[in-house]
Symmetry: C2
Subunit: 428 residues, 2 copies
């Protein structure tokens, strides 16, 4: 309950400072204060299967009423987890019909060899049997400790007790069941006005360590009632991913289990590739994904601050991303931010080792709107004003490298003692 | 005194477990228990100039009796500090004669613009005047906070009081004066038997944050009495650097002030490119540099463990280095090592995102001689035995990727709360 309250507070605060596209309406709060309702055609259930955690839900299923289209992006880590291998197979083999996604927390089913793959398959089969689907209509995801076999008796018992818990009015239970070290459930729902009517977009996600997604991310499950072809859905997902989940970092480590997926139930307005509605859909999806991605950073292990790092004036976007990512991942920058110390030298030193091409005499650095450094290497600013900015929960760092057109933004957090504490004994 | 005792203990322990080349003898301990005597033709002096620290030496000069040859490697960080720019100029302009190196701690003279460069030049000029040299015979180095101007009155006062402190029997004062957050002075001296006689090799170095050298490293100043051409000296330095200072990481951050230099006084045996002695010299220099590099890791900010990470069986050496470096820099691996938790999944996950090409079914992982993981992804080991290894001050992690011939070794340390503590308030 405490976690939920914290989550709702963070979600509402972030929503209030978010510049949503004009065609988008965040869904009105429900009785429980949440911003989460599934789009038409979806329902979820969650149970406590005692996989690792015994006092909270750790197994959930996301279902559609009828055949849905789906798209997903997966981790590029070479040590790929069994559920990712299976889900990729299902996505490639199935024509266009998907019905369900099952996910457990507390155990990643990664580095578990052949047994792990047959366990993931057994999860899909159990869900198919319970809800009268085909196994290949089911996607599977897992998150938690790497290198341990799933306790399959508990998992299968859990799946067989899911049916009575199914409901369609709230995303909250599902968001809670996929948490690991997350301190609050992460979810959001938008309503999007299209030329032919309105549709809904919902998403749940989880962090909160091993966060430096590469093409896909930690777990994020999205749902819409739009009627849309799988190829278009995949394009929208990939476009949205680039500037959302692929633009965040907590600790620079890419998970073996990263997965972001979207189901479209087709119960709402139709979106075709030729229609301007597709652009609106992509914008709204990116906005939702970015919102969820920021929630991951805010809840990064041990994190106390959300820092938006923008690099401008680079030779090209790639150079800008290199510099922004290197600053965002620098342990020295992250500890200074945690200490609320305006140690700007570490920021330009990180840019300097990033590989991005620039002349240090042209650097210009801002914290929010406060200029810290101006060319040529003149640092003349009020320490007090800088400290005030760094004491905030969220602020921006903007570094101009030169006069090129390249630009990139990465969201990061600070590095605290709690991160060390959490990760020194994660398995126990 | 406490720091010195700790340092001597660490240095002797590390020396005892080092496999020195057969032609090399670590110098017998002096009356103060130190392993540090300058080679013939060198002397050093150190004073407290109150640059940042007021209770210890923070300014030192390394001098040769007569013209010496020199070589140096510098940081590849684009934000290069003023003393590096000046030293590079001096090294390029001077024919082959060097006489002195001056170094201060507590202030990096980095990101200080034109004023910083003229301050570095003033340091070289003051040393030249004090000791009757030419300014271009002097190399300059600085280490400490980035982005603040040097207090030049204090620096110049310090330089003018160096002369009476000059001595040639110990490297200790010089090693102490270049420390920043180091907890002990780092130095060592070897004697090397050549066909034409023996020579001596000494070095001092400092860490202990912003350590992920790129082509050069944090400060390391080496000295030998060999008679050797500058070009040969440079080759030996570059070869030695690759597997020593360029193979360590504390926090993945590359300094703006990295510099490793060597002076050769020419008072001892001659080394030519054709002679087998050159190979022996390169071996001994690499051994000394590796020893000093390991001291930096042992004394990494907040570090409690020295971890040697070797990747074998890679497609090529570059792939092996990619994987070893990614494991060595992973915050999740480093926190698990700190917690003495055998969370091997994080090690293979880091290798998996490194870019190195391999098949996870072929992975084989060892802690010291204890096999943790065998193909295909079978983890069958005694947790107790693993914990015993991880509880040690120093141990090895060996990951075999496959059956290629690529191999690389990187030295790293754990990530502790103290690292966060130290770096949250470094400027104050």
């Amino acid at each position: 309950m405490e976690k939920l309250c914290k989550g709702l507070k963070v979600i509402h605060q972030l929503s209030a400072i978010t510049r949503w596209p004009s065609t988008v309406t965040p869904m009105a709060s429900g009785a429980d204060g949440s911003n989460g309702f599934w789009p038409e055609g979806f329902s979820t259930g969650a149970v406590c299967a005692n996989i690792k955690y015994s006092n909270r839900n750790d197994l959930m299923v996301l279902m559609t009423d009828g055949p849905a289209t789906a798209a997903a992006l997966f981790t590029l880590n070479r040590c790929v987890a069994a559920p990712i291998t299976l889900s990729r197979q299902h996505l490639n083999s199935s024509s266009s019909s998907f019905r369900a996604l099952v996910c457990n927390s507390g155990n990643a089913n990664a580095a578990t060899g052949d047994k792990g793959l047959s366990d993931a398959r057994a999860m899909a089969e159990a869900v198919a049997k319970e809800f009268s689907l085909k196994p290949e209509e089911v996607l599977v995801a897992s998150t938690g400790v790497i290198g341990q076999l799933l306790p399959m008796d508990k998992v299968l018992d859990g799946i067989s007790s899911l049916a009575p818990t199914m409901q369609c009015h709230s995303v909250l239970d599902a968001a809670g069941a996929i948490m690991t070290t997350d301190t609050f459930p992460k979810f959001y729902t938008l309503e999007l006005q299209l030329s032919t009517g309105s549709i809904r977009l919902s998403g749940i996600t989880k962090g909160s360590g091993m966060i430096c997604p590469n093409m896909a991310t930690m777990l994020a499950f999205l749902a819409t009632d739009a009627l849309i072809e799988p190829a278009l859905l995949h394009t929208a997902l990939e476009l949205g991913n680039r500037k959302s989940f692929n633009a965040i970092t907590v600790d620079g480590d890419t998970s073996t289990n990263d997965m972001v997926s979207i189901f479209a139930s087709g119960k709402g307005a139709e979106i075709t590739g030729e229609s301007p509605d597709f652009t609106l859909f992509c914008e709204a999806l990116e906005a939702l994904m970015t919102f969820l991605a920021k929630l991951i950073v805010i809840d990064g292990e041990g994190a106390t601050k959300l820092v938006e790092i923008t690099v401008k004036g680079a030779a090209d976007d790639l150079d800008a991303e290199l510099a922004a990512r290197t600053i965002a991942q620098s342990s020295l920058v992250k500890t200074a931010l945690h200490g609320e110390d305006a140690n700007w030298g570490r920021i330009i030193a990180a840019a300097g080792r990033s590989g991005a091409v620039f002349n240090q005499e042209e650097l210009e650095l801002y914290f929010d709107d406060l200029r810290i450094l101006q060319p040529p290497l003149v640092a003349d600013f009020s320490e007090e004003a800088a400290s005030e900015i760094l004491a905030k929960d969220a602020f921006t760092i903007t570094l101009r490298l030169g006069h090129g057109s390249g630009e990139a933004t990465i969201w990061s957090c600070d590095l605290s003692k709690e991160y060390v504490e959490i990760n020194g004994s994660y398995r126990s």
